[in-house]
């Protein structure tokens, strides 16, 4: 018997041949040592004051619970917000956008200017900066970084891909001055260069590590890469040489106060929430709205939500198919929406209502859209009556020529929780509203088919002209534009794209907002926020102007 029982356990134990190794990468070049340098003096127009003196200390370790493990950490090719959240700690950008504003301030450039037609941009850099391997971060390094657009075979990030189409080259004026040149006007260049996706890499280092560059990041920022254990965590440690930060952005000139910063990935939102409650991690991002209630009442945690700029959360109305090919029907849908009910029911009154196709953070925002379509179900019904849609005596849902007033709201699972309340509100005025749920890639494919009446959408963007582009015909097939096409919008977009006068560009962007809403192409619901929750001991956090990216250089663990 003993032998037979042993066989059973031998079968089980045979599976216990488990290797204990894991895929770990760590940087091969030795980290730099030694000196820091004084920041450069401030410059005229487009400049920022020099940072205050360095102050380190504090210490401590922080574990960040993110959503999805990044595919790579080379900002040149990183495309997800999860990746850029990590690269934002390792790398630096020429400019920054501080929390609460969308106007660029100094980053590793202290001053900047452009030529009259916005095709040439000159940047004066801080003196004494260096990458974490000791290579100097100077004008030649910045030029070499942008020359990756010509030489690098890696797929560039969204930001860099846009520049790749127009970049003609860089000129090193002197060791601390570099000029970037483009073939077409780049009116949003300063915002582009403040995006974490355009952070400056060490092209020489990238070339030396080759295909490993995305897994062995090395920048000039407050934290340096230590190791990446795939599927487990990404470990960063303080870069003691970093003393040139902009305190208005980072909260400190440096060095970073934390000793280590670890990123773990907890894809399931419930697990992410439980992990911060259990103390496994000290910081989580992308908190599901339904979990905010319990987290906000937890006296050991702080919650933080900042509205994000871009295209608000809302729904396109597809003019290419009935019934939204009729302006009156689209306007009826606008009047049927009760934003305050959606926000209180689904989002616990934690977000702000949105009224147009642009969030109000932008100087180009037009507040006129706020009064265009107040909640008025009677007006919605009257518009539908006028358009010939008659309510059925028993169901209340409207019909016309034997056809029902059907609209299918297309939802991207996990991102558009408002759609069921919207469905109810539309049904209240007689729409036969239905919800169709797709996910991820399937969602954009469905939206791109242009067969759905109301695709839900939203985007984080710092460039209002990029938001305008989402309403152009070129983006119909990509699943981004869900309303159709309109020659007037095409012209507004083309004009705004080429307009170098800021006032005229703003006027065009405002005109676009008004027109989109007059034509009722878009139902705006609310300004999107990503909520974070973190241990109350986490002090000194800074957030960038997009409201999404967090900077941990100034964080201490009390």
């Amino acid at each position: 018997m003993r032998r037979s029982t042993g066989v059973v356990f031998a079968v089980v134990a045979s599976l216990l041949v488990v290797a204990c190794g894991s895929s770990t990468t760590s940087p091969s070049p030795a980290s730099s040592q030694g000196a820091s340098s004084a920041p450069a003096a401030s410059q005229p127009a487009g400049s920022e004051p020099a940072p205050s003196s360095a102050s380190g200390g504090g210490g401590g370790d922080l574990i960040f619970g993110g959503n999805q493990e990044p595919a790579g950490l080379d900002p040149y090719s990183a495309i997800t917000v999860d990746a850029l959240q990590v690269t934002g700690q390792i790398y630096e950008t020429l400019l920054n956008i501080p929390q609460g504003q969308l106007t660029p301030v100094a980053g590793i450039a202290t001053s900047w200017e452009n030529n009259a037609d916005f095709t040439s941009f000159t940047f004066k850099l801080r003196d004494g900066m260096k990458f974490q391997n000791g290579d100097p971060l100077d004008a030649a390094a910045v030029a070499a970084h942008f020359d990756r657009l010509k030489n690098d075979s890696a797929t560039p990030s969204t930001v860099m891909a846009a520049l790749k189409l127009v970049y003609t080259g860089a000129t090193v004026v002197d060791p601390l001055t570099v000029t970037l040149n483009f073939s077409k006007p780049q009116t949003a260049m300063y915002l582009t260069l403040a995006d974490p996706g355009s952070a400056i890499t060490d092209a020489k280092y990238v070339q030396s590590v080759g295909a490993d560059a995305p897994r062995m990041p090395m920048g000039s920022g407050p934290f340096k890469f230590v190791k990446w254990t795939q599927g487990v965590e990404i470990d960063l440690a303080k870069n003691p040489d970093w003393t040139w930060g902009n305190p208005d952005v980072m909260g400190t000139a440096g060095p970073a106060k934390l000793d280590t910063l670890t990123f773990k990935y907890l894809n399931d939102p419930q697990t992410r929430t439980a992990a911060v409650e259990a103390g496994d991690v000290q910081f989580i991002d992308l908190v599901p709205f339904q979990n905010l209630g319990s987290l906000r009442t937890n006296d050991k945690l702080t919650t933080l939500g900042i509205p994000l700029p871009g295209l608000p959360q809302g729904n396109w109305m597809n003019t290419q198919i009935a019934p939204f090919d009729d302006l009156a029907v689209r306007q009826a849908a606008e009047y049927a929406v009760d934003r305050s009910a959606i926000i209180s029911t689904v989002y616990f009154d934690l977000v702000k209502p949105a009224y147009g196709p642009l969030t109000p953070d932008f100087p180009d925002y037009d507040p006129a859209v706020e009064t265009m379509y107040p909640f008025n179900p009677d007006k919605a019904k009257s518009l539908l009556d006028g358009a010939g849609w008659v309510p059925d005596a028993t169901t209340g849902l409207r019909m016309k020529d034997g056809k029902s007033l059907t609209v299918r709201i297309l939802e991207n699972r996990g991102w558009n929780d408002w759609v069921t309340v919207l469905q109810d509100q539309l049904r209240n005025v007689g729409f036969d509203a239905q919800v169709v749920t797709e996910e991820g890639g399937g969602y954009y494919a469905a939206a791109g088919s242009q067969k759905y009446e109301m695709p839900a959408m939203g985007s984080i963007d710092t460039n209002p002209v990029q938001v305008m582009s989402y309403s152009t015909a070129a983006n119909l097939a990509g699943g981004v534009n869900g309303f159709g096409q309109d020659p007037k919008i095409e012209k507004m977009y083309t004009d705004a794209l080429g307009e170098i006068d800021p006032a005229k560009r703003t006027a065009l962007i405002k005109e676009w907002q008004d027109y989109v809403m007059q034509q009722a192409y878009w139902v705006s619901i609310f300004e999107f926020q990503f909520f974070s929750a973190f241990d109350k001991n986490v002090q000194g956090l800074k957030v960038d102007g997009t409201g999404f990216y967090k900077y941990f250089a100034n964080v201490t663990m009390n």
């Binding site: 259990a278 088919s449 582009s469």
Partner: protein
């Protein structure tokens, strides 16, 4: 025996190859690609999307891509991840140990709790012990693993703070996921052990052994239990497949690294080379485990070894 094992292994190769191609074509039918799946709350214009497709070779005809993939697979190359650019095999092998640890721990839960529970129920048939054990077994089989995992996290990790909710370092992070994954299998093993033992205990040879004056322990463990083992071991082998499937969910719930997490992420991101590689690897593990089970029969039942059995 060696010839038999070799034949079994060779037979799996065309099956796995066909599986890989089938997965490739199934994913062509599903709308959306890795480019569109990359857009969450940061949209890309169509021009930007197409640039990325071209860089990944996704704009080539489906048949051309399928042929390229098939040829590479025949050379042992599973391709590279669309998302990370890493070789798929390297990526999967880095995650395999975590999944094997979880499955093995869950099997221990299933065996170490399930068999004693089933034995106790069989030996105390129709008693309170039997009812209690089988109630536990029914509950274990009925509770969804996902729900059980979340409840365990909430009670044990968040409220009591006895064990961590997430992670993969040390034995303490393994206990909750192994229980959440293993309890359903424990229930199946307990019920099977009970039914097999009840049947065997009524056999003539057991009565003969008792008539010969053998002690209760010797009869139960030496004669009855040994003869119940073949179906139990068969079930254990089959349950490895269920555990591999369950690990996909449990790894995500407990934020553990592993094949399941990689496959789920890849499905959500339409990273087809990784999905294909992951499924192939899971299928290969299942085949190998069942081969081990088949071989173990000959040790459990000498009639199989000598060809007397069926």
């Amino acid at each position: 025996m060696a010839l038999y094992v070799l034949k079994r292994i060779l037979l799996t190769i065309p099956v796995l190859f066909a599986t890989a191609l089938l997965i490739f074509f199934i994913f062509q039918l599903i709308p959306g690609d890795v480019v569109q799946a990359s857009m969450t709350q940061k949209l890309m214009t169509l021009e930007q999307q197409n640039q990325m497709r071209e860089a990944l070779g996704l704009n080539k005809p489906v048949l051309e891509r399928a042929a390229t993939y098939a040829v590479a697979l025949l050379h042992g190359d599973m391709g590279r991840s669309f998302r990370t650019g890493q070789p798929v095999l390297d990526l999967l092998m880095s995650q395999l140990p975590y999944t094997l640890i979880l499955i093995t721990a869950s099997l221990f839960v299933a065996v170490l709790i399930g068999i004693p529970l089933g034995l106790a129920a069989a030996l105390k048939r129709n008693s309170a012990v039997d009812s209690g054990a089988m109630t536990l077994a029914v509950l274990g089989a009925s509770i969804p693993q996902y729900w059980l995992g979340l409840v365990m996290i909430l009670v044990v990790a968040v409220n009591l703070k006895w064990l961590p909710a997430t992670g993969s370092e040390g034995i303490s992070t393994l206990i909750l996921p192994a229980l959440a994954l293993g309890i359903a299998e424990m229930a199946i093993i307990a019920r099977l052990t009970r039914s097999e033992m009840v049947e065997v205990l009524q056999s003539d040879y057991v009565r003969t052994a008792e008539a010969k004056g053998l002690g209760r322990r010797a009869v139960v463990m030496g004669h009855a239990f040994r003869n119940s083992l073949v179906p139990i071991v068969t079930m254990l082998g089959l349950q490895v497949g269920a555990l591999l499937g369950g690990a996909v969910v449990i790894e995500v719930v407990f934020a553990r690294p592993g094949l399941g997490t990689v496959v789920v992420q890849s499905i959500l991101k339409r990273d087809i080379p990784v999905i294909q590689g992951g499924i192939l690897l899971i299928a290969a593990i299942f085949v190998i485990v069942n081969l081990i089970v088949d071989i173990s029969y000959s040790f459990l039942d000498p009639r199989i070894r000598t060809g007397e059995g069926s």
